[in-house]
């Protein structure tokens, strides 16, 4: 990182620190959950103005050109505040996919627009659950008048509620293609499925969608490589969001245990609760340590397999730790924890949606096991 980059990194850490200090704006989070809008434009523009959407994006497109460590700082802060806006889907998954795609006018236009906050491209690549690397693709791209006609259906698309277009993966004669499909183009329909935390999964149906040649972002091995790397980076940064969620939730539990009195004593003085709180804290610190290590090593991973092993370590530990900590938060709070009014539920639900997206703990352990059994080769 150059001197310029270091300044950006320090400034970024500072602005995230301020953001976290202000505390979570939970009334906004609750209100937004009622609307299915997933993000409000003003907040999104603020993220763009802070430079957060462009943390990873190249400087030639207005981004900061920083690394995953900085993206993780932002994501952890957003996770702490339960920010529903699709930071990881747009500023990591879409940015990385575009960044690793061919250098075209469309690519710079999308990246520049994304960093500024006025374009919202998201990646639509999954068709089946547990397909961590999104390689099981039935969507087809058939050559047609210098471009492609695309047919198929994509699932589990976070950020679709406010997206203005999709980066779609499709098979063309056995070769993977990454294609840009504007949301309102003929034949493209977006359905929204409500998630536990008020956000949505987009289901994107493509019927004879015409994609001109200029909208081809990457092809063949290059497309595979771009998507594979981008997905591992996104799973890692989603893990950083989970880390933020679990830290806030556990702090809430500990605060409650220090103030709630039963049997004439703060319940946090009871050893059985102390030991449960400690065990969950150990999970949190393991998650933190793994995430830091993975973030530091991911970009320098020698091959696809090494990179995928790292990302799966981060996601499986962070997902399961966040679930354990938030679920325990309900129990620590007792009956109040089971009410809609109690904020604990917001953390539980965000942990659930972030865990499930891009492969849950079990899916990542399965991939880890498969890859660990191989001695060389590419990510499954």
């Amino acid at each position: 990182m150059n001197e310029h980059g270091m300044d950006h990194g320090a400034l970024l850490a500072h602005s995230v620190g301020d953001f976290v200090k202000r505390g979570a704006d939970l009334p906004r989070v609750r209100a937004l959950a009622q609307t299915r809008a997933e993000f409000d434009r003003a907040q999104w523009q603020q993220l763009a103005d802070l430079g957060w959407l462009g943390v990873l994006a190249p400087e030639s497109c207005g981004g900061l050109g920083l690394g995953l460590a900085e993206a993780a700082i932002v994501a952890e802060g957003l996770g702490r505040a339960l920010t529903p806006e699709p930071y990881t889907a747009v500023a990591v998954l879409a940015v990385r996919t575009l960044e690793y795609s061919a250098d075209t006018t469309l690519r710079s236009e999308l990246l520049t627009g994304l960093v500024g906050g006025d374009r919202v491209p998201v990646v639509a690549c999954h068709e089946q659950a547990d397909d961590v690397a999104a390689t099981r693709i039935a969507t087809t791209a058939t050559p047609f008048e210098g471009g492609y006609r695309v047919n198929g259906q994509k699932q589990f698309v976070i950020g679709a509620a406010g997206a203005d277009g999709y980066i779609v993966s499709a098979q063309a004669a056995g070769e993977l293609q990454l294609l840009w499909v504007p949301r309102d183009v003929a034949g493209c329909a977006t359905g929204l499925i409500a998630l536990a935390d008020g956000r949505s999964y987009g289901t994107v149906t493509l019927r004879d969608v015409a994609v001109p040649r200029e909208h081809v972002l990457a092809s063949g091995k290059a497309a595979q490589g771009a998507l594979g790397r981008a997905l591992d980076h996104a799973a890692t940064i989603a893990s950083a969001e989970l880390l933020g969620v679990m830290k806030s939730a556990h702090e809430m539990s500990l605060d409650y245990m220090k103030t709630r009195v039963q049997f004439g004593k703060a319940i946090g003085s009871f050893q059985v609760l102390q030991h449960r709180a400690v065990d969950l804290y150990i999970q949190q610190e393991l998650a933190d340590a793994v995430l830091r290590e993975v973030v530091a090593q991911l970009d320098a991973a020698p091959d696809d397999r090494a990179r995928a092993l790292l990302a799966s370590r981060a996601k499986s530990r962070c997902a399961d730790a966040a679930l354990a900590i938030t679920r325990a938060a309900i129990q620590f709070h007792g009956a109040i924890g089971f009410t809609e009014d109690c904020d604990v539920g917001l953390y539980v639900k965000r942990a659930m949606t972030l865990s499930a997206w891009l492969g849950n703990g079990r899916a990542h352990r399965t991939r880890y096991a498969q890859l660990a059994a191989q001695t060389t080769g590419e990510a499954a």
């Binding site: 946090g268 003085s269 102390q274 610190e285 393991l286 370590r313 352990r365 660990a372």
Partner: protein, 383 residues
């Protein structure tokens, strides 16, 4: 003598590895119990002669003066080569304690004996009624002329039957307001009249620890380490590095290697349910490595480790136990067999990791005590 810390890490590792691999006696490699003094004496003297017996001591006292990073490499290579644990209390506890809290006369008298292998030490901390609640100990030392006179008994004293000396926490002030005050740290020669031993077999059938009885045992006043009544502070002073060392992934890693060899030999990797559990444990261990790395880095920067290092001991020893338990389960009917079992091409001692992983959650402050420490000092929960 070389300046080890100026060496490249990997070059240092290579030098240590070659020496351990070539010089450590093959018949004692990966011994499933601690080595007795008569078994390891030659090895101890060989290390001593080479200047490698006290990797953690400063060079002025005959140590290697290794930095934390180099020391961890040294310890990793010890485990890797299957070098068993020797009676090492003099090296790990007494030496560092005297260097930090002792006086010149004590250092001059005791440190060279430890380096030369003329003195081996054991630790007199636990008592029959003072285990987790160590500060309630009742062994008493009363001043009488130039001596202290000690009465009481210590238990779970590892390798006391091989030791020439014992360091003892004894109560010197019954009137102290807090039980932690009024405890002193004393050095005692095991040949002193009034000391008797009873050896205790551990669950694996090995005689590794003893009960030590003190009946009017006299030790000179010059054997008081640090200030009178301040022994508790000394006892606590060395725990940081000990917990970092206990938290190292290398012992559970040995259990994992056995488990993978056994799974291979028995064709268990085709079993999806088994693989899921194996993978979870592999990740538990890999993630321990990340957490351990965090503390090594802090130690390397010269930071004092805080109470939070307790979590390393909890996670490493419990991961070690889970691995040892899956090893037995994966062995199926073989899991009842004592000693090495032939399975396919492999010969695996299925039960020794189970036994070896048990005391780690008990000694050095049980894992329940570690959780109390974390709850109080790290999570700031009320008492």
């Amino acid at each position: 003598m070389s300046d080890w810390n100026a060496m490249d890490d990997e070059a240092f590792r290579a030098e240590v590895r070659v020496f351990f691999e070539n010089e450590f006696p093959a018949e004692f490699k990966f011994l499933p119990r601690r080595m007795r003094w008569h078994e390891c004496r030659d090895w101890y003297l060989k290390l001593s002669k080479k200047g490698w017996i006290a990797p953690n001591w400063p060079r002025e006292y005959g140590g290697m003066g290794l930095s934390p990073t180099k020391l961890l490499i040294y310890l990793e290579e010890t485990e890797r080569a299957g070098v068993g644990r020797m009676p090492d209390q003099g090296l790990t506890m007494v030496g560092p304690t005297l260097i930090r809290f002792g006086n010149d006369a004590q250092r001059k008298q005791y440190l060279p004996q430890i380096i030369a292998g003329d003195a081996t030490w054991c630790q007199g901390y636990s008592e029959p009624n003072a285990g987790s609640d160590l500060a309630s100990l009742r062994t008493e030392a009363v001043p009488d002329g130039d001596d202290y006179v000690i009465n009481g008994s210590k238990i779970w004293t590892s390798m006391a039957h091989d030791a020439t000396h014992i360091y003892v926490l004894a109560r010197t002030d019954r009137q102290a307001k807090k039980k932690q005050e009024g405890i002193s740290f004393l050095l005692v020669d095991m040949k002193t009249p009034g000391i008797t031993l009873r050896t205790i077999r551990n669950i694996a059938g090995h005689e590794e620890f003893c009960q030590v009885f003190f009946d009017n045992v006299r030790t000179p006043k010059k054997n008081l380490v640090g200030e009178l009544h301040k022994g508790w502070t000394i006892a606590k002073g060395l725990l940081g590095f000990e917990r970092l060392n206990i938290g190292s992934p290398r012992r559970p890693l040995q259990a994992l290697e056995k488990l993978e060899a056994l799974a291979q030999a028995r064709g268990l990797l085709a079993d999806v349910a088994f693989t899921e559990r194996l993978t979870q444990l592999k990740l538990d261990l890999a993630d321990l490595g990340s957490l351990y790395g965090r503390y090594v880095e802090r130690a390397r920067r010269g930071e004092t480790l805080g109470q939070d290092v307790s979590m390393l001991k909890v996670w490493s020893m419990e991961t070690f136990q889970r691995l040892s338990e899956l090893l037995i389960e994966a062995a199926g009917d073989y899991g009842a067999i004592d000693g090495e079992v032939a399975m396919g091409d492999a010969r695996i001692d299925v039960l020794s990791p189970f036994y070896n992983s048990r005391p780690g959650t008990i000694y050095g402050g049980s894992n329940e005590i570690q959780r109390n420490i974390l709850a109080k000092y790290v999570l700031n929960l009320p008492s």
